[in-house]
């Protein structure tokens, strides 16, 4: 009986986290399309609901009622598993995101490693989908994305090491609390820029959306997918983007800390600040999509391995020497 009670409590907590995440994914898709449209002097989705807010719901409804087509020459088990893997990985990562000092589903010691591990597993959904389709375009897209995500993970990992040097803990709450006096975006600003660009590449967003470059590869790994399975890829992708925005705001923008910490403003809960920061980073993501043309593949690899990796490694040495020299290393 008490086991059942514990399970019900946990399920309640998980639902309380996941339902807002899924709803906000739908909203963020709308925001993305609106920003994209405004930059190009179009209206964007503005018909369904007020300001077109319900457009994503309408789209989701359409996807649900569409037929799911499974190619006869595909590897069926892996073909069906691929969108499930993408979606699951995008959602389980939210378990460790702290919305407040206490509001976190799982306050684990190695939170940042968990996030990094889950985001590095994200490539499997794409590879599985691309291979199981047994078709040229998805396969090429999958291979491109595997190489791309593995390359940019390296620089993200080293940027995380930079932040961890200043914090001295792998716990996400400790990382946020270490920024109480100064957000890491100020001392580590170059790393923030590199993190943002690497996050674009990691989530296959433009200008690094080579795995699904429509001019070359139709839709990349998603070509053979239809109906709800396509929608799951899509939801997983946007949940991943939100996750990267959350990671960026925790690592560099002070997470749930308030920028204006005096009387009338400190009544605003920390979760609201975190959401504001996530939306701010997402608007940057959307603007980049509208402004920048797509990279060529060799340029992408060159940027990852020859520029970002040496730069972030050098910055690790710099940060470590600075902290060591001025005796600021967080040793506990």
């Amino acid at each position: 009986m008490e086991y059942l009670n514990i399970i019900f409590q946990e399920v309640y907590k998980i639902l309380f986290l996941l339902v807002p995440v899924l709803v906000s994914v739908a909203m963020i898709v709308w925001l993305d399309r609106r920003i994209w449209a405004f930059v190009q002097k179009r209206q964007g989705p503005n018909v369904v609901g007020p300001f077109g807010l319900l457009q994503s719901l309408a789209d989701a409804l359409k996807y649900i009622f569409k037929e799911i087509i499974i190619p006869s020459s595909s590897n069926k088990v892996i073909f069906i598993l691929a969108p499930i893997v993408t979606m699951t990985l995008a959602l389980i990562a939210w378990a460790v995101i702290p919305f407040n000092e206490t509001q976190v589903l799982a306050n684990i010691n190695v939170g940042i490693l968990y996030l990094f591990a889950v985001s590095s597993l994200g490539v499997y959904g794409i590879i599985m989908g691309g291979w199981a389709s047994n078709s040229k375009y998805p396969f090429l897209g999958a291979i491109r994305s595997a190489a791309q995500m593995v390359s940019y993970e390296v620089s993200i990992g080293i940027i995380i090491i930079n932040v961890l040097l200043c914090v001295g803990s792998l716990n996400l709450n400790d990382i946020v609390l270490a920024q109480q006096s100064l957000w890491f975006v100020i001392p580590l600003f170059p790393m923030f820029v590199i993190f943002f660009i690497s996050a674009l590449a990691e989530t296959n967003r433009p200008p690094f959306d080579l795995p699904e470059a429509e001019a070359e590869l139709v839709a990349g790994y998603q070509t053979e997918y239809s109906g709800m399975m396509y929608a799951m890829f899509w939801l997983g992708e946007y949940a991943n983007i939100l996750l990267m925005c959350a990671l960026g705001s925790i690592l560099f923008l002070g997470g749930w800390l308030s920028p204006i910490d005096f009387y009338p403003f400190d009544l605003i809960p920390g979760a609201v600040w975190l959401i504001f920061k996530i939306i701010f980073l997402f608007i940057l993501f959307a603007l980049v999509k509208a402004i920048v043309p797509r990279y060529r593949y060799d340029q992408l690899m060159r940027l990852g391995w020859k520029i970002f990796l040496p730069l972030s490694l050098t910055w690790v040495v710099l940060t470590a020497s600075y902290l060591f020299y001025f005796n600021l290393l967080p040793i506990n």
Partner: protein, 210 residues
């Protein structure tokens, strides 16, 4: 109780998927079972409290090594990916070598685990750091790795680096006649080198020198 249930779930999955790695006919399926095996092993690591090792296992093996495995295996022709392990006479000649290697690994494991069990003073250093309260797994690992074992740690890093350089040297070949983009040259190009503004007179045209 719950701990034991989860332990048996994860270890069963680990053993079954390890068997399936060798038994499954499709090579890509083998790699996916290998990934499943890695994941369940890292769950077991987390269950015994070694959360850092578990996460590193996920990041390094599942997130990077297995991706490259998959990368290579997927490039093979799908039609030829029928693994005739038990049927063909050719591949069964590999069985003795495999048996020898697995016996060696088995005895190595017996030596390590037996030493842990019957000569605990050999492992006193490790036990004394990991059992102290209030220090997380990651901290105690770092304290051992970067103090007592720093030379071994550095040497293992050097071995990996040498292996990497060796692989690059072996596969590197300078191809002739490949046009490469020179970014510095492109960026440092001046306007005067590329564009010339000419006065074009009517009915006369311009002489462009070849």
């Amino acid at each position: 109780m719950a701990h034991a249930i989860f332990f048996y779930i994860f270890s069963t999955i680990a053993i079954i998927s390890a068997i399936m790695v060798t038994a499954s006919k499709n090579t890509v399926h083998s790699v996916f079972f290998l990934i499943l095996d890695f994941i369940s092993i890292s769950c077991l690591f987390i269950m015994i409290g070694a959360e850092f090792l578990g996460m590193i296992m996920l990041i390094v093996y599942v997130g990077a090594v297995a991706v490259l495995f998959l990368f290579v295996v997927m490039m093979l022709n799908v039609a030829q990916q029928k693994n005739q392990w038990f049927l063909s006479s050719q591949s069964s000649s590999h069985i003795p070598i495999g048996l020898i290697i697995s016996t060696i690994i088995f005895f190595e494991l017996i030596i390590v685990i037996g030493g842990w069990k019957y000569k605990p003073e050999l492992f006193e250093k490790i036990n004394s750091t990991s059992s102290s309260e209030g220090i997380s797994n990651t901290h105690s690992l770092g304290q051992i790795l970067y103090t007592d074992y720093i030379h071994v740690f550095q040497i293992s890093g050097m071995i990996l680096l040498v292996a990497m350089i060796g692989a690059i040297v072996l596969t590197f070949r300078q191809r002739e006649g490949v046009k490469k983009q020179d970014y510095i040259k492109q960026i440092s190009r001046e306007r005067s080198e590329g564009v010339e503004v000419l006065e074009v007179q009517s009915n006369k045209g311009v002489q462009i020198d070849d």
